[in-house]
């Protein structure tokens, strides 16, 4: 009683194999399609903006004359913003991840925190803008300062960092924890000396993704009412700043075509920052290369 006819199995082989190779090409083509569109996007930006991109552009404050205008204030502002977002979101995010992965017991509260985090990841950024406006700008009276914008952005990107860190921490093999405990290390020693170093590459990847998002967000800052033109640079975290995406947004809204080209140049600056951040992450990832 042969239930399987091996001849027909052999006959069906050919269509299955062609299906396999066709779908491989489709998958490949779609991947390339995305990259192609993004290539077109980049080409347009670069061809428009490259002409305006020079040292003077990087060193100048905004100006009514396109040829004098630059991104200096916005660039410095963005760096200040990152100086708030990076430590705050990393501390909170990694702390939460450690709590959830290493300490939390399986109970209703833990579960609630987890559901809450995955929900937060889906809350529109503009809603965070409303939160920041009410809580940081108004209630805590930080005004439209670096601090208010930074804290708003930190909360916005927090879920990304938490999830990435959780995964990185979970990926650290238990054997390493056991080895450390076996030597009499306490839990916190084990976390600080063994788990976190081993999880750093994953945490950094998440951190970079989160910062990449924070660096390019416009809508929540618009809602916060951040200033657009500053004739000075911040000195403390309570000073006001403007940031690249807002500057870009403003330039694109101007009537003069030169400003649109300036916006493109600003986008290039932003992209370069993104690429630098990503490369740093890759470097660190390689340095901490884990092999277990």
């Amino acid at each position: 009683m042969n239930l399987i006819n091996h001849d027909s199995v052999v006959k069906r082989m050919k269509p299955r194999l062609s299906k396999n190779s066709i779908s491989k090409w489709i998958f490949f083509a779609l991947t390339m399609f995305v990259l192609l569109i993004l290539g077109v996007l980049l080409y347009r930006i670069f061809s428009q903006g490259l002409g305006y991109l020079d040292l003077q552009f990087l060193q100048s404050l905004p100006s009514r004359k396109p040829e004098n205008a630059g991104v200096y204030a916005a660039l410095i502002g963005t760096i200040w913003l990152m100086a708030v977002v990076a430590p705050v979101s990393l501390l909170l995010g990694v702390g939460t991840a450690i709590y959830l992965e290493e300490y939390a017991k399986e109970n209703a509260i833990t579960n609630f925190i987890k559901v809450n985090i995955s929900n937060l990841a889906g809350v529109p950024s503009i809603v965070f803008g409303l939160l920041g406006l009410t809580v940081f700008v108004r209630a805590l009276a930080f005004g439209t300062s670096v601090l208010a914008a930074g804290l708003t952005m930190s909360l916005l990107v927090l879920p990304v960092i938490i999830v990435a860190s959780q995964e990185a921490i979970r990926a650290v093999p238990n054997q390493l924890r056991e080895a450390s405990f076996g030597l009499g290390a306490t839990k916190w020693q084990t976390i600080v000396r063994i788990v976190l170093p081993a999880a750093i590459p994953g945490i950094l990847t998440g951190g970079i993704l989160a910062l990449s998002r924070a660096i390019g967000e416009t809508a929540p800052l618009v809602v916060l009412g951040m200033p657009l033109f500053l004739a000075f640079l911040p000195k403390t975290f309570f000073d006001m700043i403007t940031v690249l995406p807002l500057q870009i947004y403003n330039w694109t809204g101007r009537p003069q075509a030169e400003f649109h080209a300036l916006a493109a140049a600003g986008i290039i600056v932003l992209l370069v920052m993104l690429i630098i951040m990503n490369s740093i992450a890759v470097l660190i990832r390689n340095k901490f290369q884990k092999r277990y």
């Binding site: 100006s63 009412g225 951040m226 657009l228 033109f229 500053l230 000075f232 809204g253 009537p255």
Partner: protein
């Protein structure tokens, strides 16, 4: 009348008369006024580098919100202050002075290929823009014009530009529902450029930058068709579609903070040149002089 020279002259004066000032000035409000204020602050920074001025662009309404909350010293507006806002300021005990900076001429434009419209009256505009339940064709306005549907492009309903248009043309009646609205005037320009049956309106500067690709519609306000130009707007001939742009200043700030007084003074002295620089139309000179005199009384 003399742009760069004016500012330089001022710089020299500053060197002689006034010491270097310090302090912070926060300005927020209309995005329409923003370019003027940006230009003023840019120039002011050269004479008083230690005065830290920030300019926001939260919209006229958003600006007043911050002004009422006491967060700003100056609030830019593309329309006069509303009664509610004035009342709220009064309640907070904030006295203010209205300063006119320049004019913006709302420009009504059609597609370059539109060869039938030569001018429109206020009544025509009303007919075109007010919703009445019908689909409007050019031939409904003038039987000689083609029986094609009119495509309308208008700034977003929450902008100062729309507000002004609403006031003088729509008179509170709803705008045609099928009108395409956008917050970004550049995209309106593109809309009209790409659509033969289009009509749109937006700030003068956006027309001025796109003269070659748009056709301007002279407006007949009762005394014959007038095209918006710097001259016709400044003289008030282009009426009623030209509107003044404002900034509102907190009186107590002028009194207590020398740098605010100094800044407003600088503003009034240079607004004429700088507003033209960024695409708006200056007020007649005497308007600035008058306001400078008022300023002295507030000091």
């Amino acid at each position: 009348a003399c742009g760069a020279q004016g500012t330089e002259g001022n710089k020299e004066q500053a060197g002689e008369e006034t010491k270097q000032l310090q302090g912070e000035i926060k300005i927020d409000g209309s995005s329409t006024v923003f370019p003027i204020m940006e230009a003023v602050v840019e120039e002011y920074g050269m004479t008083q580098p230690e005065v830290k001025v920030s300019v926001g662009s939260s919209g006229t309404g958003g600006g007043f919100e911050a002004f009422i909350a006491g967060e700003t010293e100056l609030s830019n507006a593309s329309r006069p202050i509303k009664d509610e806002e004035a009342a709220a300021l009064k309640e907070k005990g904030i006295d203010y002075t209205e300063v006119q900076l320049a004019y913006d001429g709302l420009s009504v434009v059609v597609n370059k290929d539109n060869d039938w419209v030569d001018s429109l009256t206020i009544e025509d505009l009303k007919k075109i823009w007010v919703e009445d339940g019908t689909t409007k064709k050019w031939s409904d306005i003038n039987p000689d014009w083609p029986a094609e549907e009119i495509k309308l492009y208008s700034p977003g309903t929450d902008s100062g530009t729309f507000d002004y248009f609403d006031e003088v043309i729509l008179d509170g009646q709803p705008i045609v529902e099928k009108a395409t609205l956008s917050e970004d005037d550049n995209t309106l320009v593109q809309g009209v450029q790409g659509d033969k049956n289009a009509i749109g309106y937006f700030g003068y500067a956006y027309y001025a930058e796109n003269k070659d690709t748009l056709k301007i519609v002279p407006i007949d306000g009762g005394e014959g068709p007038v095209e918006p130009t710097n001259e016709t707007i400044e003289s008030g001939e282009y009426s009623p579609l030209s509107r003044p742009l404002y900034t509102y200043v907190k009186n107590s700030a002028i009194k207590d903070q020398e740098e605010v007084y100094d800044f407003v003074k600088f503003l009034l002295e240079n607004a004429s040149t700088l507003s033209e620089d960024v695409g708006y139309v200056k007020l007649p000179e005497e308007e600035y002089t008058k306001q400078l005199e008022t300023l002295e009384t507030l000091k």
